[in-house]
Symmetry: C2
Subunit: 364 residues, 2 copies
């Protein structure tokens, strides 16, 4: 069985590492010959939109998946007409556009912060009279890791923020006074079997995820599962999906979802019975899903922009290092490490040490 993946970055790499023991082969389509998953399968190097390469991918693979959501609609449709593709193009279409996404959330009863569609500066000024300050202006498409976003603190910020976005269709969202950011990783197989991981509690800085911690038995687990279940059902979703949420005094508001394996689920490699990567493969191949039960206490720390010495990471008790073989570059995720410990004290002690190492090399 051969799995095709659009993209050959670290997510594709971790999918492949989970798939080799299951006897799977991989073919990757990525513009970079040096992409870090390429060594684990057959690389197709070139533009994602090149029909000849897409045809090769579809021909070589029994099933195609992707590691990023900004797959153009015509690319997804081309693949669907040639082979099996999971998750479905509809999930891509919804996740790619913040306005569609928020509307979709509302239609299926998942609450979000207040928002409004923005097409002009006048439009934005008008919307802000009801949304209120502070708020965040985001382009409807193409944003990730905090790119294409501006914080609006007062009416003076509106014009510069709108100009920064160069007039692209946007969404303005109320900034909610959240207690914490959480995400839930869910998995649904071709047969409709569905499992959920324990909530991840996430710490962002500069719009980039820094630390995720597994929160077993979180009081909001059930609420998050209810919301993400609606999403899975409404999309007829197959594979791993991550729903990011704000915890506002015990009420969850949806921020966004990613139709793919997700950085906030990397702790599952060591910290759950079955990793999100293996379960993504099981789901798209219609194999029985693996248990999502936590194994001890787990948290993950991202290394952004630079790498500490391997021996310094491995000297930290319970640390598991995952290098992506990517050249360090400002703001680029180049590795993560997971701590999986027997108790909360061990966990927090080692996470603290890891985070210190991460801060030392972080250039952002």
């Amino acid at each position: 069985m051969r799995v095709g993946v659009l993209g050959a970055g670290q997510l594709a790499r971790m999918i492949a590492l989970a798939g080799v023991p299951l006897g799977l082969e991989f073919v990757f389509l990525d513009p970079s010959a040096d992409a870090c998953a390429n060594r684990l399968g057959e690389p197709l190097v070139g533009d994602y939109r090149d029909p000849a390469l897409l045809a090769q991918l579809a021909e070589r693979a029994d099933v195609v998946t992707y590691e990023f959501e900004n797959v153009p609609a015509n690319v997804a449709e081309f693949l669907v007409s040639h082979t099996q593709v999971h998750p479905c193009p509809k999930a891509l279409a919804v996740a790619q556009d913040r306005l569609f996404e928020k509307t979709f959330f509302h239609d299926i009863g998942i609450p979000t912060p207040d928002y409004a569609a923005i097409d002009s500066l006048e439009n934005l000024e008008q919307a802000m009279t009801t949304i209120g300050y502070p708020a965040i202006l985001k382009s409807r498409t193409q944003g990730y890791d905090g790119k294409g976003q501006s914080v609006l603190k007062s009416p003076d910020d509106l014009k510069p923020a709108w100009e920064l976005l160069q007039g692209v269709p946007s969404v303005v969202e109320a900034f909610v006074p959240f207690k914490r950011e959480v995400s839930i990783i869910a998995v649904r197989s071709v047969s409709g079997e569905t499992v959920f991981y324990p909530l991840s509690e996430n710490l962002h800085r500069g719009g980039i995820l820094r630390v995720s911690e597994c929160r077993a038995n979180d009081p909001l687990q059930q609420q998050a599962e209810d919301y993400v279940s609606r999403l899975l059902e409404a999309l007829g979703y197959v594979g791993v999906l991550a729903l990011e949420l704000f915890d506002v005094n015990g009420k969850l508001l949806a921020n966004e979802f990613a139709p793919r394996v997700h950085n906030s689920g990397h702790w599952t490699i060591e910290g759950a019975e079955t990793s999100q990567f293996e379960n993504h493969l099981r789901a798209i191949l219609d194999l029985p899903l693996g248990s999502t039960a936590p194994v001890g206490h787990a948290a993950m720390v991202n290394f952004i922009g630079g790498l500490p010495a391997t021996e310094d990471v491995l000297a930290i008790p319970h640390a598991h290092l995952h290098l992506y073989d990517k050249a360090p570059r400002k703001g680029r995720k180049v590795a993560h490490a997971t701590i999986r410990a027997e108790n909360a004290e061990q966990l927090s002690e080692s996470v603290k040490k890891l985070a210190e190492l991460a801060d030392q090399v972080d250039d952002s």
Copy 2:
């Protein structure tokens, strides 16, 4: 950093799977272009004894290791003179010859069953007057998975057994009435840091390992650690070493050791904080060793000669499947599965199901 491995079978494959997240690259030397690790690195295809290929391996790799102990002495010496090699050739030389091995055990105070060196039928007849029946006649070299061995139950068996071995130098060993077979996986780094895994309790049938179970807090752990420590020190050993022992009423007698990662340690992938494969790499690269603490309860079942359907294995609670991408063949190890469970009852229930699947496909 690039690691060279002599051999590209399943042990090399699992070493590579552990090494990719550490940012390591691999080069394998194996006679088969189809060897199952080849896809995870750069394959050199040809005879292990080909000086040109060995020179390439030494040139391409920063450090060389191996997945089998029958590396000819001149091959090991060639590599040592060209690059770093771990474990050392001395460990190979001792492990390759059952007489050297037993003598070595005795010299460093590790007890073994009674034995005698055999060079002729007369020799064997004479030895059996003191060894006593039953006993096992084994060729001094080249035996593995029970090959090249004969059980001696009475004087009538001596001539046929000796003829079966075609007169090669041999060892006869008393068959000890062992309660169980155990092994201990130990790791020693270049710097001399040493760690031990919990004992594995092993079930063999037809000379082939079928099931290994992690025995945390075994009363014989300390005795096993004492023996294997002597071995590590006496050999100046670097890497993972497995010492197989008989438990005879609470006293351990050494059977043999393997100077490499070992089938009885496969449960460590899911069942220990750090797998034997990762710790082997950490050891030979002189990185800090990872914790060997057990994670829950774990056991491994080998699939010999044939494969069950993937979905049947994955439907068993807590099962983790490891296919080797090897064509099924009589008596050949083609995969294993590990059960990692929260308690002993879960473990034994799932192991029973797995063992049933293994028996259904087992052709031996």
